[in-house]
Assembly symmetry: C2
Homo-oligomer: 196 residues x 2
């Protein structure tokens, strides 16, 4: 069909069509990307104020070229001393870590550092809500595990026991996070149920 200006009508799918397919599956995004999108949605919807902390970097050399931005020319990744995400929701301090594993049967505790556990314990001591989000990529499932549960498994490891948490245990002790369109990893829904 021709139009007055000689252009054919655009019969391709509407702009959002592709975007809307498979909205409840992962689409190959990393857990970090999913959580960042979720947090952006929470902030825009005025539901919560939660952000990922910047990656800690040890800056060694910086060049200051004339008339342009400073360039960091030598820097190193530093190990994070706390967790990756924090903020505020319904008057409560929120503080959590997120980890993805390709393992089908267990979550290796080597993914977590001792100082992160210490930090999470301090957070809980001071009245914050702390937890870990664990994604089993092979199962395409993402779990919310309260810090208090994580501490128990950590103690087992410290006492020479198992160095991992079985997938079945996380199914039992954790809470599966529903995959939503806007709040892709809607962990606040779990917090609403557990802490309020």
């Amino acid at each position: 069909m021709n139009y007055p200006n000689g252009q054919r009508k655009n019969i391709s799918r509407p702009k959002d069509a592709k975007k809307n397919t498979n909205i409840f599956s992962n689409r190959g995004m990393t857990l970090e990307e999913d959580i960042n999108e979720t947090n952006t949605f929470y902030v825009k919807a005025n539901k919560a104020v939660i952000y990922k902390k910047p990656t800690p970097v040890q800056i060694v050399k910086v060049n200051y070229p004339k008339r342009s931005a400073a360039v960091i020319t030598e820097a190193y990744f530093k190990q994070a001393s706390t967790t990756d995400y924090n903020g505020v929701y319904r008057y409560r301090y929120i503080d959590f870590e997120a980890k993805e594993t390709k393992n089908k049967t267990l979550f290796p505790l080597a993914n977590i550092h001792e100082h992160q556990i210490d930090h999470m314990k301090a957070v809980v001591d001071h009245g914050g809500i702390s937890f870990i989000i664990i994604r089993f990529a092979a199962h395409d499932e993402t779990f919310f595990l309260p810090a208090e549960k994580l501490f128990l498994h950590w103690n087992v490891k410290l006492n020479g026991g198992k160095k991992s948490i079985a997938y079945e245990t996380i199914q039992e002790e954790g809470y599966i996070i529903p995959f939503q369109y806007k709040a892709r990893i809607d962990y606040l829904a779990i917090i609403d149920e557990l802490y309020f």
Copy 2:
């Protein structure tokens, strides 16, 4: 006076003497260093869990040499979208910015970005405690100004009014933070009085 082993008695001041002089003055540390030391003290004393966020950096190039740590060879400073410090104290979310000025008579609001104000407003909306710590280097004085007071001055600026806060106004509306030995910038003392 000689001692049996032939060594003279050490008559110099005890090791800590120098360290202990002027313990209540600034000793040339930046506000950031003072706050970091204070936060470290708070964490060690189990008083609060508050940290500075890492400097946000846009990483462009990374080299992965064999048998040694990854080296970032090109990166740029990014503007912070939130504030510099956050954490938890007495069940409350704490979120603040810190700024030092050499100006003797006023604090220029150009030191703060619009998105930082938006962030602080969202924090207050969700029940967090937000404020700014302002140091007047020339007066060697450090003030605590609640976010709610800052917002009023920001609105004046937005409406075409003054683009700064007078030193005298900060003296009136803010709270001077005592300079302590351990908690160098003991801002939790102010929070205790204002919010609990």
